[in-house]
Amino acid sequence: MLDPVVLFFLLGVTAGVLKSELRLPVQVYELLSILLLLAIGMKGGIELARQPFFELVPQMLAVIALGFVLPFLVYPILMGPGRMPRADAASIAAHYGSVSVGTFAVVVAYLAARDIAYEAYMPLFVVLLEVPAILVGIAMAKGLRGTTGWKASTHEVLLGKSIVLLVGGLLIGWLVGEEGIKPLEPLFFHPFQGLLALFLLEMGLVTASHLGSLRRYGLFLLAFGVVTPIVFATIGVVLGWLLGLSMGGAVVLATLAASASYIAVPAAMRISVPEANPALSLAASLGVTFPFNVILGIPLYHALSEQFYRYTGAS
């Protein structure tokens, strides 16, 4: 059965494809993304407050390493069979190495609807996975030596909207703890799924407007946008198992690995690698991978993780 939030996404895509007059004002989009980012951050922070921080350090390092490694897995494919210019290959690699907070929210809703437990500090991993791939992508495009702009780029990436809100929420949740956050729940936590539904409605409309450019860039992007997340998700499941995550936790990590950024990375690439064509990377991440993950991918990664954990006899 499809989750209602996914139906909102489909409603948006349908309305967009049919050229309906439905528009969400960009300010509504911004309000929704601010609320979702803060909520995700705070949820993670609350959990962090619950356990000894240093116990998480190995997992955190592994996740950061994942963020650095993933882009290297796709860059050669984009340059070779994909025949893309260097800047575009680097930019797309960064998109897929990083994460999509929207997809994260959908997997969280998916697991909650099925009462599947997972490590609740996962939002920390979202933060950790967001940045490394961006740095790798910039280095791929510019080379490590072209130091001009490196400091500026890092500054811009770290102070981008999503990092600030995720980290800010994380810190607030961590400082205030579960009890202290209670008064904020009616705005941030209770309507979370509703906010996500509206957000997906909007993303559906935006996705529809990228389907056109998809047609232009052809089959390679389509295949790339479906195969990459499946491969990355498999890596995520295995890594989750190695790190001792629960089965649900492995689903989340798989989904994070499988997801491709469409907010933080495009903004960073626009500034730091302007010669990359944004229509290309968005057609892949937003036009293919996002819908794929949301509709088919997440249930698939769930099945994958279940099989793998059953087979290995874990949890």
Binding site: Y29, E202, S209, R270, A279
Partner: protein, 100 residues
């Protein structure tokens, strides 16, 4: 009413570069600028303005002929190739020449 001729430079481009561009305008000698949110269509396709990835801004700078030329040259070098951007100039009359 004394009148003074100045140039009005209008730039339409991606909102993603707003903060970088305004810093550059300062450096290139603009004494001020006015920005409005916009959407539109051009050689790089439709930019609907319903999402952070496809918003435009419209920047106006009133300045003297030389500054206008200077800004336009820099924009062409630093931005024109890689960003959705158009640029046009016209003559305007202003009242307080010391401001521009």
């Amino acid at each position: 009413m004394h009148r003074h001729r100045r140039r009005l430079l209008t730039i339409v481009t991606e909102s993603a570069i707003e903060s970088r561009l305004t810093k550059d305008l300062d450096r290139w000698g603009a004494h001020g600028y006015t920005i409005t949110d916009a959407r539109g269509k051009g050689a790089r396709g439709i930019r609907e303005g319903n999402w952070e990835g496809n918003r435009n801004i419209r920047i106006e700078v009133v300045c003297d002929e030389d500054t206008a030329r200077h800004i336009a040259d820099h924009l062409r070098e630093d931005y024109y190739d890689h960003y959705a951007m158009i640029l046009y100039h016209s003559d305007v009359e202003i009242m307080r020449p010391e401001k521009f």
